[in-house]
Structures are given as C-alpha cells and as structure tokens.
C-alpha cells in the first residue's frame, strides 16, 4: 500500500483555466495529490462552466495530466461528458474545482437561475453514477483585472456553491487565504506561489474529509 494521506484513492479532477496551464494549479496540485498516494487524472478546460462538463464543448485552452503524461492544449481543447469520464476512469472520487467561470464578475446581477441549473445538472449526473464527489470553490483574487473579479461576488459565488453542490462535499477555498493575500497575474489567476499554496490547502482539506478517509484502500 502506498504511503500518504490519500493512499489508494483514484481521483478524477476537473477544473477551469486554473487547471489548464503549466504554471497554474495543474502541476502543483497533481504533484501534491500523487505525493500523498492518490492516482490522479486531472483535466482543465479554460472557461468551462458546470454544464459544459455534461457534453463535449470546445474551449480556448486546456490540459490533461494522467499517469505522468501531460498534454497542454490550445484551441484543440474540449470538455468531455462527466459520465464518459467516470465510466472510463472509474475514480473513487471526483473533484470539481469550479467557480470563477460561473460568477459573472462583470455583471451587476448574479445569474442565480443559470448557475443553479448548471451546478445541479453536474452534481446530479455525478450522483447518478454513485461516485462520491468534492467541489472546491473559488479562491480570493485581487479586485479588478480583465475578468473584473471582486471580493463581494467571489464570496457570493462560494456561498451559492456551498448551498447547492450536495451531494458533493464543499471545500471553501476562501478559508485558505485572506482577500488579496495570493498575488495574481490578472486579478483571477495566481502566480506560482499562490497556486502552490492553493494546491497544498486543497490537498490537506481533501485528506481531512471523513468521506475521503473512508475511501482509502
């Protein structure tokens, strides 16, 4: 048996742009999780929302890292239907890292009905496969930037996810840092130090979940 807090757990990790570029969350998270003994298949799709993981949708960039092989994709990147991914990988746990692509930072009103439809569509699809899941919410950014990320909306988005991702277990990334603590390159995407801190916190929070400990072989 492999050592580590996540030994023997097969993870399917899905996310947005944070998981799609080499200097972003993809590499530190993959490495932290595998160091703790998990088998990881991590897929990122820039701009993908929850409902985009119910079908195949073209996205402007993405990445796929599995069994040591990493493919960073440009325009050829797509999402894949969650049911197909689960059927192929048979993960013991699905980890969704999504929030920024659904927060509508540049819009005065939060698209609550749209977000509810997308989030519940994805969680129901995962639940139908009887695969347990964890949803990691967005982290604080720095106000402004080209995505107009702001503290008030990211807090609203995290609160919305906390209430609506069940039966997935919610991990609140806002508890990992103070607003503005992790420097960003554009208000939303962190520098490497920020991603390393986010990754370490996600890994620790995952390992601390009783549900995850129950999955250890």
């Amino acid at each position: 048996m492999a050592a580590g807090t996540l030994a023997g757990i097969a993870l399917l990790v899905l996310g947005e742009s944070h998981l799609s570029l080499p200097g972003y969350l993809m590499n530190p998270l993959y490495e932290d999780l595998t160091t703790q003994g998990a088998t990881v298949h991590a897929i990122g799709a820039c701009g993908a929302t929850a409902s985009d993981w119910l079908k195949t949708v073209e996205v402007p960039c993405g990445a796929d890292r599995f069994k040591g092989d990493t493919v960073f994709k440009g325009r050829a990147a797509t999402t894949s239907p969650i049911k197909e991914l689960i059927a192929k990988d048979k993960p013991s746990l699905v980890v969704i890292i999504l929030g920024d692509t659904m927060a509508s930072y540049d819009n005065e009103s939060f698209p609550r009905a749209w977000a509810w439809q997308g989030v519940t569509g994805l969680t129901k699809e995962i639940a139908a496969t009887q695969t347990p899941c964890v949803w990691v919410g967005p982290a604080w950014g720095t106000p402004g930037g080209k995505y107009f990320k702001n503290d008030k909306r990211v807090e609203l988005m995290a609160g919305f996810l906390e209430k609506n991702v069940a039966p997935c277990v919610f991990i609140d990334s806002l508890k990992f840092s103070k607003p503005g603590q992790w420097a960003t390159v554009d208000g939303q995407h962190f520098n490497l130090a920020g991603y390393q801190a986010w990754s370490a916190n996600i890994t620790k929070a995952l390992a601390a979940l009783p549900m995850v400990q129950g999955l250890k072989k």
């Binding site: 570029l21 200097g23 701009g47 009905a113 439809q117 609506n164």
Partner: protein, 247 residues
C-alpha cells in the same frame, strides 16, 4: 572588503580551474538562460490565456404550462403542430428554458374553447402559465417568480393560488397546528424552504377548511415543488407538481 575577496577568489578559482572552470561557468550561464527562458515561457503562457466569459450575458429564464381546469386540454406552441396533452395525471409541463424578454406564444385548447397565450419572461424568472375555466370558455393566468432560495439540502415548496373562490388561502400541516402558508391572495404565489419530510396539507380558504387533505409524498432535498389551488366545480382543490426543468 569581503565582496572583493569573494570576487577575486571566484576569478582566481576560475583561472585555477582553467577550461574546467569555464565549463562550470558555461553550465551556470546555460542554467540561468534556461531558467529565464522557462520563466518567460510561463509568462508567455499566462499572457496567452484567451479571455473567456465568467458567466452568461443574461440569467436563464423558464416557462411552464399548467392545466388548472377539471378536464384534459391541449397545449400548442405557435408555429408548431406539436401538441402536449395536460390532464389530471400530468397537469404540468416541465419548465422550458426560453430567451429572456422574447415573446412566448401558443394556445390552450379544450373542446371548442381556446385561449391564446402571449407572454414574456424576465431574466432569472420562472413563469407559470395556468389555464383556467371561465364559464364554458378557457382563460389563463401567468404568474412569475424570481427565486433566490436555491438550496440542495432543503425542499423548496411554492403555493400558487389561482382560485377566485379562495380568498386568504392557507396550507396547514395535517395533524399539527402548523401553517405552511397563510393569507395568500388570489392570483398570487409564495415560496418557502422546508425539511425533506413526509407530510399532508389541508387547504383553508378564509380560515375555512376546504376540500380533502393532500399528501405531498416523499419530498426530496434539493428539489422544488409547487402546490396549486385551483377552482373546482363548487369549491377549490389543490394538487402538487414537481418544478422540474428540461435538461
């Protein structure tokens, strides 16, 4: 000065090592250049990330159609031959996603009676178009809500009152002195969260018990439901539907 000493020592070391030292320097410079290159590459990747939207330009909007009469009727969308039958067993459609502010046109028909539907839905709004008997004719009422109570751990239950015979409508939990809803006017709706428990409710109109109790069945956390109070022959009756959304 220590700086000079170290510097001189470094140069002396390089001179002492000769070609070997130069190889070290070359490797060091290559390491620096590769590191700078990787950093620039990472920056270039970061700069290259295409801008993408963080949400839709407008919130989603939905419309559903309900048969609030005592007999089966047909629903037809304008410009379509497709018909949907709404009867006692299936009194409602699902919520269909529609474009906000666009005209929704269709028709309820029952025997020789028709009621032309024309409505619009605001962004984030869930509209229910309810067919009602108007003597021997058909009419309809549209009621919209903009919910902000989405919660996967609770049941969301709405109460729609479209019965002119039922002023100050209320729903009481059977067997308990608990009112789920109170003092609801005609052509109005209200909504609240409840725990996912099995209960029956009794309709009251103006504090008078009206009709038979209704068993709400197994209500599931995260799901949304509506109880409709509609006019019946000489009274008001209630039924429950799931607020399912077409996926």
């Amino acid at each position: 000065m220590s700086y000079t000493v170290v510097g001189l020592r470094g140069i002396r070391s390089l001179l002492a090592y000769g070609v070997k030292g130069m190889k070290h320097l070359g490797r060091f410079l290559r390491f620096v250049l590769v590191s700078v290159g990787l950093a620039l590459s990472a920056l270039s990747h970061a700069a290259d990330i295409p801008l993408y939207p963080t949400g839709p330009s407008a919130d989603s909007s939905f419309v559903r159609f309900i048969n609030g009469t005592d007999a089966a009727l047909e629903l037809t969308a304008a410009g379509s031959q497709a018909k949907v039958q709404l009867d006692a067993k299936t009194p409602t459609t699902v919520y269909y996603p529609v474009r906000a502010k666009s005209a929704i046109k269709g028709q309820f028909s029952q025997a020789q009676s028709k009621s032309e539907i024309s409505t619009t839905v605001k962004a984030g709004e869930f509209v229910s178009v309810i067919a009602l008997a108007d003597g021997a004719k058909l009419k309809h009422v549209s009621l919209g809500e903009e919910p902000d109570d989405f919660n996967a751990l609770k049941v969301s239950l709405a109460f729609y009152n479209v019965s002119a015979k039922c002023a100050n409508a209320a729903l009481q939990v059977v067997g308990r002195e608990v009112m789920l809803f109170e003092k609801l006017g005609v052509n109005a709706l209200t909504r609240r969260m409840i725990n996912p428990v099995k209960i029956s409710v009794q309709l009251l109109c103006g504090e008078q018990t009206t009709g038979a109790p209704l068993e709400l069945g197994e209500l599931i956390a995260g799901e949304r439901y509506s109880v409709f109070a509609i006019p019946a022959a000489s009274t008001t009756r209630i039924f429950i539907v799931s607020d399912a959304v077409a996926r």
